[in-house]
């Protein structure tokens, strides 16, 4: 059965990328612990609006862990702490205790400027994808889908890499602000499939170059990214990206 908890929430307020920003706090009373974290923030906002204040702004959409929109840094961890990978929207209040102080911040990274409060601009990820995150195939009449057999193991592995939701938790967790886990997941997915092989080297190079250009840092193997990835992407992907990248360099 659900029990109720009361706690203090400290949340980041920042009016645009140039504003310095500060924490506001609010006392939350008797919140049922089967409430989701974002529903708790809905309650916070209803209370703020009731007081005539502007609501706390954050990104969210599907609320079932797949769209990658939600992006909160909760008590020092992207998406908050759960046993298995989960996004902010899949975090429930039963993970917190009566009397806690819960701190909510935005992703903090040079690559993700703040738009307002905890809403950040992640269009850099789109730009990296545009640099090469695809197989160049036109809409039309490709060959039959079963014409190329793909061993189940490769298909499954590609699927795991393709599970990345582009939320940016990896960047937020990384002390270097690196986007390597994001980039390597896409590079890996396509490198593992025969359809993606012809452009594999070019893709790895183009996506890494774009990532560097947009101000994301380098990977120093601290593995902070994989620890917070809600879809459990691993740094094995980064190793694969490095291999593809080196191959591309040698080919030059």
């Amino acid at each position: 059965m659900a029990k109720n908890i009361s706690f203090t929430i400290k949340y980041w307020k920042q009016n645009g990328p140039k504003d310095k920003g500060h924490f506001d706090s609010h006392e939350m009373k008797n919140i049922p612990d089967d409430t989701s974290f974002l529903e708790m923030l809905d309650i916070l906002n209803e209370e703020l609006i009731e007081e005539g204040k502007e609501p706390f702004v954050f990104d969210h959409d599907c609320r079932e862990g797949i769209c990658g929109m939600c992006s909160l840094y909760i008590n020092g961890t992207p998406h908050g702490k759960t046993e298995r990978g989960a996004t902010t929207c899949q975090l429930y209040m039963r993970r917190f205790n009566d009397g806690d102080t819960i701190t909510v911040e935005p992703w903090r990274s040079a690559g993700f400027p703040v738009i307002k409060d905890c809403m950040v601009d992640r269009s850099a990820f789109d730009k990296i994808m545009q640099a090469g995150g695809y197989v160049s195939v036109r809409t039309g009449a490709p060959q039959d889908a079963n014409a190329i057999l793909i061993p189940k193991q490769n298909a499954d592995e590609a699927m795991d890499c393709a599970s990345c939701i582009g939320c940016g938790a990896c960047v937020a967790a990384c002390k270097n602000g690196s986007a390597m886990l994001f980039v390597s997941s896409k590079v890996s997915q396509l490198a593992l499939l025969p359809q993606g092989r012809p452009e594999a080297a070019k893709r790895a190079k183009a996506m890494v170059a774009k990532m560097d250009e947009l101000g994301f840092g380098n990977c120093t193997n601290t593995r902070a990214c994989e620890a917070v990835c809600p879809k459990c992407e691993t740094i094995a992907n980064i190793a694969r990206l490095n291999r593809e990248f080196l191959k591309a360099k040698f080919a030059e």
């Binding site: 209803e46 990658g68 809409t139 057999l149």
Partner: protein
Amino acid sequence: MTTINSRIPEGPVAEKWSNYKAHQRLVNPKNKLKLDVIVVGTGLAGASAAASLGEMGFNVLNFCIQDSPRRAHSIAAQGGINAAKNYQNDGDSIYRLFYDTVKGGDYRAREANVYRLAEVSNSIIDQCVAQGVPFAREYGGLLANRSFGGAQVSRTFYAKGQTGQQLLLGAYSALSAQVQAGKVKLYTRYEMLDVVIIDGKARGIIAKNLVTGKLERFTANAVVIATGGYGNTYFLSTNAMGCNCSAAMSCYRKGAYFANPSYVQIHPTCIPVHGDKQSKLTLMSESLRNDGRIWVPKKLEDAKALQEGTKQGWDIPEEDRDYYLERRYPAFGNLVPRDVASRAAKERCDKGFGVNNTGLAVFLDFSESIQRLGIDIVRQRYGNLFDMYEEITDVNPGEKVKTVDGIDYYKPMMIFPAIHYTMGGIWVDYELQTSIPGLFAIGECNFSDHGANRLGASALMQGLADGYFVLPYTIQNYLADQSIWPRLSTDMPEFDEAEKAVDARIEKLMNIKGKRSVDSIHKELGHICWEYIGMGRTAEGLKEGIKKIEELRKEFDSNLFIPGTREGLNVELDKAVHLDDFLTMGKLIAYDALSRNESCGGHFREEYQTEEGEAKRDDENFFYVGCWEYQGSDEKEPTLIKEPLEYEAIKVQTRNYKN
């Protein structure tokens, strides 16, 4: 009286699409460079259309309300996508997929459109595989399939429980390639608020830059809306929080007919409502019904004990369980179509057999399949769904409680129907053009392919069919003679007028300065819609619902409070615009439901049912598409125009999933 021309090509149903393509007008490559197309929405339909049009040479302006095209709610589709490949050699064919879709839609879809959908379904799978979509495969390397509700063949392709995600990322990657090539210009965090009509044709949109709060004007030779459905009218649904019907409503107000709004799909397997602070309902994929069995207790006293919490699901022995779908529909069992499964759950709960504290839930139990297949195989198939369920409810459906007389008892899931998908939408003809020339609607936001009920794994199919394989052809038939017109200036009076109207609307909302938040009013609308325009409708209830929505509209107009200003980002203002449109949408659903004196698919009128409680259609009087025409004001009742349905290839029958 207005008559409707659905522009269905000549010839037998199986040849219509080939005939159409053979004779349609095309745009030559040079002229394509002079033509601009606005695509609003970046879900499966929008992204695939924008990418394909860009590849063909058109200049595409693509808009989405999220921070990235990849966030569109297509991403959340779990189960799969249908195609008539017949890879399993189980007797599937284009005709059978067509037939199942028409039958599943309770004979209220447009036959020619559905046939075309089935026809292009196979190309979608080929296209997606070529893009690198990692569909599930067998050990031999062939593509794997599973079965879904309403079908007796295995024709559903899937990528774990994340098929929508993988298909959308495929379309998004194709779109990204076109952005890189300079053929698509992307506008993220933009919301379309009006369509601009010049000389009777759609020639642009007014969109709000959600970050700056400024209204901006965009011109093009054609406008395509791919903005999804209106399920969030009910507040609680499986839709994403941002899903809304504002773009569609702006088209409707400008004269585009809105077809079959009462056809709303209620999905049978969602996690039940737990409290009044809940913001959305989470879907548990229909694929779970492949191996999960749905039941409630046979005895009322057991149900009562479950409701009071003195008993748990596993305390009810096998012989006291009523697997009501298997009992009522032996031929399809747990895999009956969604509308049938939802109503059967409601029927049991209405009779007092609900299994949770609200009495509004049934069990979905994996005990039998785990015992038969082993937990590893079951987890391989549904592991991510089990985890999701546990995260939300704190119950692990893969956890064994006990074994009695050789029967294993696992903790069952609890599920209940929830608003999921809207079959109704902006009316389109065979070319996916609305009743406004130059304005097209694709994906969930149009109405044509699913009739009164959509089968599982057909939404992804339709979205991608429209975007990759239908619209890129049919839009050329319209654009063929449009390149002679110069690119329009957005200083034209029609743009002025449209922007002023949007501006005045925002100003009005900001100036209400009442006391109530958007959400508090939206929740109330949701309750009204669920109660009176939901799963079981009556003439009396619908009239009451309309009255209540009108009262709520007054409350909205006089007592809404939006904090902050209209400059810059204002989430509450954006939500208020959506709610303004949901209020009108709610009434539109009710008008349509009230006019349709029959039960069919997702539209169930309690007055029209058989003795066994099955839906009773009235083909003599309601064999038509109900198209609603706006009458100049949200207060006025819209006018109903009928598009008669004509079936050549399929004999219209009573739907039967019993034998």
